[in-house]
Symmetry: C2
């Protein structure tokens, strides 16, 4: 499968490398085609790895991961050309974290409480099938759910299109070892407000547990 990843940070690189290992063709997209981090990633990941502009990557991908930071997302999506996302499943991992006051972070005020990054992404890409997912765990756990508690822990997703959410569940199960029955669909993309709002809490738990390799399991 041809997969695009927008963003060259740790999350994008980790997901891209994991998907290459699974046999996919992956293009990392960034602001310029000469981004040094993207080129270094391509050189490390073999012939199925490529890099290009945001627009190159979005045009290439049948499935698109958004792994940007909150501040730059709207500009990046516009430069990627929203037409390149039409009728595609788009997995949004972006967390609108604000570290300007140090640790622990808050959320960027414009994507907080009554609005979210996930909703903004869907607004910027009106014809894309946006699914918010994976933003609530650390990168190395995103790509291999078995690394914690034999995969017994929950992922929380949301989005407006049920088929797209089911496709994401299957994809995460087939590629990243997430147990489909533990992927909880919270509702439409508005619920990105909730799954983004728990990320500062995640940072607090990480500090208390002294490791990012954890997740929550819902128990009844």
């Amino acid at each position: 499968m041809n997969i695009a990843i927008l963003g060259t940070g740790m999350v994008g690189q980790t997901i891209g490398a994991a998907l290459i290992k699974k046999g996919h063709n992956v293009m990392l997209g960034s602001r310029t085609a000469t981004n040094e981090k993207a080129i270094a990633w391509k050189n490390e990941n073999g012939t199925n790895a490529a890099n290009g502009t945001f627009a190159d990557a979005a045009a290439f991908g049948e499935l698109i991961f958004i792994c940007l930071n909150g501040n730059g997302t709207v500009e990046a999506l516009q430069s990627a050309n929203p037409a390149n996302f039409e009728n595609k499943v788009v997995i949004d991992l972006t967390n609108p974290l604000d570290f300007s006051n140090g640790m622990p972070p808050s959320l960027l005020p414009q994507y907080c409480n009554t609005w979210s990054m996930g909703e903004e992404v869907q607004k910027q890409l009106p014809n894309a099938l946006v699914v918010k997912a994976l933003n609530t765990v650390t990168a190395n756990l995103m790509v291999d759910a078995h690394r914690v508690n034999n995969g017994n822990h929950n992922l929380f997703i949301c989005g407006n299109n049920t088929d797209a959410k089911n496709a994401v569940k299957e994809f995460l199960s087939a590629n990243f070892n997430w147990k489909p029955e533990l992927i909880l669909d919270l509702g439409d993309i508005k619920y990105a407000r909730m799954t983004e709002a728990i990320v500062p809490f995640w940072v607090a738990v990480m500090q208390a547990e002294k490791t990012p390799m954890f997740n929550y399991m819902i128990v009844t």
Copy 2:
């Protein structure tokens, strides 16, 4: 022990009744001493149950639970007289939820992201030892942690005073069956921002799970 509960809603009544069963003397405080819900609660809960104004209750309690709603908390605490809280452990359960746009709720904007109800309570009661606790689970689970997964799930607390947090841990263990090793201290009262921000997420999970009787267990 003489214990005050500020608030006559479901949470306050449930905690009060549970503490009476444990042998404590409990006074429910409300805006007036003639509050019908408080009087009905007193009549149902025997001779160790009492009711009075916010100030009556705060003066009575060696330990004080705040079980108010976000909108009325500041006014209630002022009417209770902050001097009545001096050097006392105060457990704040208040969630500043805003249901004005229906379900799911958001947070009241003034207690959101970069400020919290817990911090506001500590500010209103500068000489009290405020511990944010119990606000992340449903009332019937607050008072008996064994009701879910044999008590194997986490509670998140925070506050500025370590001795007060340890006292709350012991109290919750002795009275409400919380396992002390599963009560995670996130830090100072600023972390109330995080534990309050996960409550709209809790509502979303409740909707998806179709029950309020659940909690999260951190797994590594």
